[in-house]
Symmetry: C2
Subunit: 183 residues, 2 copies
Amino acid sequence: VMVVPPIPVIFVGGVTGEWRIERIAPVRGESLPSAARLARIEGTSPPPSGVWTLRGTTSNERYVTRAEKEALRAAQPVLGRSESTRAALIPVRKSAAWWELAQDERRQILEERSRHVSLGLRYLPAIARRLYHCRDMGEPFDFLTWFEYAEDDAKRFEELVAELRRSPEWEFVEREVDVRLAR
Amino acid sequence: VMVVPPIPVIFVGGVTGEWRIERIAPVRGESLPSAARLARIEGTSPPPSGVWTLRGTTSNERYVTRAEKEALRAAQPVLGRSESTRAALIPVRKSAAWWELAQDERRQILEERSRHVSLGLRYLPAIARRLYHCRDMGEPFDFLTWFEYAEDDAKRFEELVAELRRSPEWEFVEREVDVRLAR
């Protein structure tokens, strides 16, 4: 099925879904309630009921240049690879101070100082990733990032998130939860 | 009341609301149905029922630099001035080609080639303006722009929209409706 973006998504933490929740860890601020399984529903199918629900949508890129966009497109793997038996859902909310910055200032912190895009590129194609936006939807988070990887790449994934959390960009994170999954 | 952004909005075309609809003109693509009055409801108050409803939200700026942001902030008038007896609601949808562009390419078309920000600055403080985003909300438009001005500035407002519609940026507009209002 050809899906025209933006693609809406609903994540449901509860008792059904393809993914088993291994742990839910608060990185900054309040955590999410415990749940046994996670469903990730893209499109307009009705979601199952659950303990918690997070909504988002794919959107246009906000920071990448044409050159970065092409580099990402060339290296980015698809979601749903059979070897991707590990996943992470990382909801993040940034501070009012971040959103008050002008576009050039956010770009400067994100890429020139934090190397967000080039850092991510170093972990491709091992880590597949999809970013959903939700700040404009009245949700408790601004972004929901979804990652998929093979068990063999689990250590690489830990390096990636550790590097991102050490970056100047991360000083603007007000709430972050790290949900780890397996199937 | 101190409202923390993003501020959601609902525009309802129908029989109630502060603004009398003078005309609804399709600029590109399909128009909106006729209605007598327009209500603009910011926040979470329940909207009246109507013939059509458009939802959006204020959001962070996507293109302006710090210098442009400060210039806009210094010159931008508030909404609701008593002399602002004229208003316009201009919903716009841009093409898939626009949204496929990288951030630097959109910025280049918007400001370096179309002078969107500097053009707008020339009409301040006569024209008050608020931009609502709705592309990520599954709405029929990407943006809802709200303008308020005095009857004496009506000709200036026509100049502004004519200039914007002649710009390279406007070649990416796929649907645009121009709703003119008075109170």
